[in-house]
């Protein structure tokens, strides 16, 4: 292993640590709840996109149905809490485990499909999940389900007065997703995934177990996204099938990674840091009229970034061509 590579890896870790500390200090100075809300959403979408990036960016299996795992996490946590009084911390792990298992079960038939057939299969499966939940009376059907308010408590992860606990949780989530990616990047799995993405046939002939590495990526990715879904349910304390499991959400989850730099370590967080504040600000300043101007601005932004920076905004930061990969 050459020295510059190890050094770069160590530097990345250092940068991440500095950014985390800096981010952790921000809410001590910024008290505006609306701004704190934007920061929480940015961290959450960064974490989600980072997790999506493991399967779709590193391993190259484009999933447009990750809302399924987000929704599973959100619903598992909410249902366990409202129906059985199980603390959300446990619900979060349960949701992650269920999602990972479902990802493995679905991966078994789906990973034989190529390209667009795979992508459409992921959309279709998430839609089936959405329709089933919409018709499931016990789980609140299409109207959704509300978390009962039981007063501020760490055990129940409910805080009516302060957004800080949510902020730190979202920060921790983003750190975990980043660190898992960082760690996997230089592991056996990370190299397998990139080989599978670039050329599955060549990878197979060199002894990479293509199928197993796709399954591994799917399980890790689904687990982390489900934890994000659990967090979202606790944060907004009201979920409905359309907003947590809809097709639109699958695309929104992928967007930061694509715009920031798909298959890169920093791309998803960079994409989220730019996209989410812009989305939220356009929505709150010009979206209130309900006339769709916010959609026009947002859509134009996506088209422009996609066309101007196909390799992602991360390309702006790399000193030489391809250094970000």
């Amino acid at each position: 292993m050459d020295k510059s590579f190890t050094e770069r890896r160590r530097r990345e870790l250092l940068v991440a640590a500095c950014l985390t500390v800096a981010a952790a200090l921000v809410p001590l100075f910024v008290k505006n709840p609306n701004v704190q809300n934007i920061m929480i959403l940015t961290l959450m979408f960064g974490a989600l996109s980072q997790s999506w990036n493991i399967l779709s960016g590193y391993c190259g299996q484009i999933s447009l149905g990750h809302a399924l795992y987000f929704g599973l996490g959100a619903y598992t946590t909410t249902l366990l809490f409202t129906k059985f009084g199980v603390p959300p911390w446990f619900g979060m792990l349960a949701g992650g485990a269920i999602s990972a298992l479902i990802a493995l079960a679905l991966g078994y038939p789906c990973f034989r499909l190529g390209g667009h057939y795979f992508a459409i299969a992921t959309i279709v499966i998430a839609e089936i999940g959405l329709l089933l939940i919409q018709n499931w009376e016990w789980a609140g059907a299409a109207l959704g389900i509300e978390m009962p308010v039981r007063g501020d408590s760490w055990l129940k992860f409910q805080f009516a007065r302060s957004k800080l606990p949510y902020f730190y949780f979202a920060l921790a989530l983003a750190c975990v997703a980043w660190f898992v990616t960082w760690w996997l990047e230089d592991s056996k799995w990370g190299y397998w995934w990139r080989a599978v993405k670039d050329n599955p046939d060549a990878a197979q002939s060199l002894g990479v177990v293509v199928f197993d590495s796709k399954m591994g990526a799917a399980a890790v990715s689904a687990f982390l996204v489900a934890v994000g879904g659990s967090f979202y349910a606790m944060y907004v304390s009201y979920i409905d099938p359309g907003s947590v499991m809809g097709f639109q959400f699958s695309l929104l989850m992928a967007l930061p990674a694509v715009l920031g730099g798909i298959g890169t370590l920093w791309g998803p967080l960079l994409g989220a840091a730019i996209l989410i504040p812009l989305t939220e600000l356009t929505r709150s300043y010009i979206g209130g009229s309900g006339r769709g101007v916010d959609l026009i601005v947002y859509g134009t932004l996506i088209v422009v970034i996609a066309l101007a920076r196909p390799e992602g905004l991360i390309g702006l930061f790399s000193r030489r061509k391809g250094a970000s990969r």
Binding site: I62, G114, V124, Q134, N135, R291, L295, G299, T300, A306
Partner: protein, 292 residues
């Protein structure tokens, strides 16, 4: 459940299926030509429905007559979208697939926003059109006239498209460009022109479908989303790139939807379509008629 109900719903399913085929064929044509999935396809349909609505409201032109106008308007839109957006998305050196997905997805969001801004989020409909609400009875089976007309247009469109691709110079240029976009330049075919015309043609076909849909379906800014999803499934079910596959896929989707509605609650009728898609690709990973 009587035999009559079953035949009745299968007949409606078949008509709807032919329309689904017409909605999807433009998507299949564009994909076959250049490997691009247009994520704004549903918004093209939405726009065609609004064009029909406004022609009816302001000029009292019946959807029957405005269908060619809607198709022409969409032809222009399709060609412009190719020249202004897709052409550049295809030049990307990295992640071409994701770039074109999100460039067209961004366009879809812009189109929805524009529709909200200019047409408002209200639900519109075309009341009292010539065929609206009327049915014909064939051997005891009632067929709604707008859908019947739509099905006939779909069959005619598929026939026309077949002749067009196989019998005209442009059709041959289309086939040649799809086989080898690099080599056609050597025989004097302008690749960009063929692609732009291909996008125009694909959009015109969904324009035709939109005009028919407008006479029996509500028109609102988000109307495209649900039909777009069915269109992707239709194209994938038939096999990406196969125009005939889109036709067959549409019929299968329509029949499966009608059958599902017989046994499951109406809100679950799409589950049947999705399940059949999965079943088909698990057995045949390239869809019914997709090339290997």
């Amino acid at each position: 459940m009587t035999a009559e109900t079953i035949i009745q719903s299968l007949a409606s399913g078949l008509l709807m299926g032919l329309l689904y085929g017409l909605i999807a064929v433009g998507l299949a044509l564009i994909f076959g030509l250049m490997d691009v999935v247009n994520f704004a396809h549903g918004e093209f349909l939405m726009l065609a429905m609004y064009v029909t609505f406004f022609l009816f409201t302001f000029f009292a032109i019946d959807p029957l007559l405005s269908a060619p106008l809607a198709a022409a308007a969409l032809f222009v839109l399709g060609a412009v979208v190719y020249l202004v957006i897709v052409r550049f998305a295809m030049r990307a050196k990295a992640n071409v697939g994701m770039v074109q997905i999100f460039a067209t997805f961004g366009l879809a969001i812009v189109m929805r926003g524009l529709a909200q801004l200019f047409f408002t989020a209200d639900y519109r409909s075309v009341p009292n059109s010539w065929l609206g609400g009327k049915t014909v009875s064939v051997a005891g089976i009632f067929l709604p006239q707008p859908q019947l007309f739509g099905a006939l247009v779909a069959i005619a469109a598929f026939g026309g498209l077949y002749l067009f691709i196989n019998r005209t110079d442009f059709g041959r240029a289309l086939e040649a460009t799809r086989e080898d976009p690099g080599a056609v330049a050597l025989v004097g075919i302008d690749k960009n022109r063929v692609f732009a015309l291909g996008w125009g043609l694909g959009a015109a076909l969904v324009g035709l479908a939109g005009a028919i849909m407008a006479s029996f379906f509500y028109i609102y800014p988000d109307v495209g989303a649900s039909f777009a999803l069915i269109a992707y499934v239709t194209v994938a079910l038939g096999g990406f790139g196969s125009v005939f596959g889109a036709f067959a896929g549409g019929i299968v989707v329509g029949l499966v939807e009608a059958t599902t509605a017989l046994v499951l609650p109406p809100s679950l009728k799409s589950v049947g379509i999705y399940a059949v898609y999965l079943l088909v690709v698990f057995i045949r990973p390239r869809g019914l008629f997709g090339s290997m």
